[in-house]
């Protein structure tokens, strides 16, 4: 607090709460902004409004496989990817060999889910910047993916589809053709999205050179996924620490290049997501070709899950970045400890580091560009 002695006028910085109810905090996030005019001098994120004790549940649920529905509810816009990480970890613990068909289906649904999640992220980012229409265009496409998921798993958002060692049920019989159709119709839409939003001059003005995250800082903060790649680091767990059958597919890792502004700005993080959707389409195409038509998806599911004593850390690439599960077993029927390392949690923690000196409008862009899901932050 600075006091102006000449006129006896008290001058204070304005503290303003952005959230927990605010249109563009993507859930129930509260940011305490200290403002000088409209310029942010300090930002403090407050989280925990959506804390649902995932880790405590996992320890008390008395069954390893009953954890899976809870993983869905962490990052509720990419539930398939959350399940994938957990079942992979459990399979590694139990040393289960998973049938080929299961692996292929898992990769296809995981990549479809990645596209769906990125569509939501991109759309919501546009919405944050005042572009309403791209949001609905993205939702139209996302709806098609959800329709495929609905036919396959019976649910549209929280699937509980993957099981340790297999899948809950086989895909529906038109799965292959429907997915192939989607891939075909979706490709031109990416170009449309680029014309409408990505290269819109106002959009570029709003996102270029904003919220710059240098490579060094990103690594020190353990950023991952599109946020890290937006800063120019070529790091994708699907390539660099391959899990499942990702080593069989041919795809590129798009990285930010500072094309319209500075390396690591909001636009770079955004465009990485757009380009990742194209790569996901490539993976889906290859996986559809390679997927065996016959096979029991439930044959490797163990009757009883009781791993030996030990622990492991399994990490997978979700749309938001590195999702890690630290699973400790003490030979009992329920996990001794499950910790989920959520990418959004980590990304949100670096918000103060990249947003000082920004305007309120930039703050919205920065929060949108790191694409957080509060369900995952608070677990």
């Amino acid at each position: 607090m600075i006091t102006d002695t000449d006129q006896n006028i008290e001058k204070k910085e304005m503290v303003i709460n952005m959230g927990p109810q605010h249109p563009s905090t993507h859930g129930v996030l509260r940011l305490e902004l200290v403002l000088n005019g409209e310029v942010i001098t300090n930002v403090k994120p407050f989280i925990g409004y959506l804390h649902r004790c995932f880790e405590k549940y996992a320890e008390e649920v008395k069954d390893y496989s009953k954890v899976i529905p809870y993983t869905d509810r962490m990052d509720y816009v990419s539930a398939m990817n959350q399940e994938h990480g957990y079942v992979l970890g459990m399979e590694r613990m139990l040393e289960i060999e998973v049938p080929e068909r299961v692996e292929y289906i898992r990769v296809i649904v995981a990549e479809l889910q990645r596209i769906a999640s990125h569509l939501l992220g991109i759309g919501a980012f546009g919405l944050d910047l005042g572009a309403f229409t791209p949001f609905l265009y993205c939702f139209t496409e996302r709806e098609k993916i959800l329709d495929i998921f609905e036919k396959t798993s019976g649910a549209r958002l929280l699937y509980n589809y993957m099981a340790v060692g297999g899948l809950m049920r086989d895909v529906h019989k038109d799965f292959k053709t429907e997915t192939a159709d989607f891939v075909k119709t979706f490709r031109p839409k990416i170009k449309e999205l680029n014309d409408l939003l990505s290269y819109n001059q106002i959009f570029i003005d709003r996102t270029a050179k904003i919220g710059v995250l240098p490579e060094k800082v990103a690594l020190n903060y353990a950023a991952s996924g599109p946020v890290l790649r937006g800063s120019g680091v070529k790091w994708d767990l699907r390539k660099d620490d391959p899990y499942s059958i990702y080593d069989r597919f041919d795809f590129d890792i798009p990285v930010g290049s500072g094309e319209v502004g500075t390396l690591g700005d909001c636009w770079d993080r955004y465009i990485v997501r757009v380009r990742e959707m194209e790569q996901s389409l490539r993976i889906i195409e290859q996986a559809l070709d390679g997927m065996p038509d016959e096979g029991d998806v439930m044959e490797a599911i163990p009757k009883r899950i009781r791993p030996n004593e030990g622990e492991l850390y399994v990490r997978t690439e979700t749309p938001r970045g590195e999702l890690g599960y630290y699973i400790v077993s003490d030979k009992s029927a329920n996990p001794f400890r499950v910790k989920a390392r959520a990418p959004s949690f980590v990304h949100l923690s670096m918000l103060p580091a990249i947003s000082n000196g920004a305007l309120i409008a930039d703050m919205v862009a920065i929060v949108g560009s790191i694409d957080i899901v509060l369900g995952e932050v608070d677990r």
Binding site: I47, G48, M93, V346
Partner: protein
Amino acid sequence: MKSTEEILEILVQQFGEEHFTLGGGDIGEQWITISSALLADAAKFLRDDERTQLDFLMCLSGVHYPKEEELGVTYHTHSTVLRHKLTFKVRVPESKPNIPSLESVWKTADWHEREAYDMFGMTFDNHPNHTRILCPEDWEGHPLRKDYVQQDFYQGITTRE
């Protein structure tokens, strides 16, 4: 690429044998247990030494060991340059749960440590903002401890159904 044993050897060379023990379960990954007194130095060394270069702290998890009456923290690190991973642990007694903060080594530890404190109640020395993160500031107890008993009322509102 270095295995956990090789990294242990480097650590022993640097700091002496008495601070480190190699651990592992029947299944899964191996780890190194580091004594809490040396943790900060060892972590900084692991990050900066060119043989290890563990520049990326993937995960930091608190764990409660009720049998031994100990609290522990598990650190999962990896190196984006050399592409190896290392898991190391620190364990402290429940009665004096002081662990040096690694916030200055890996910035990402900041929130992870706050979460571990919130859930388990260990103290991270030299942490810049040692407050709860997920639970409200006036919540009683640390929920992820095995002996945790949920409070009946929070600010006059029942917490039971």
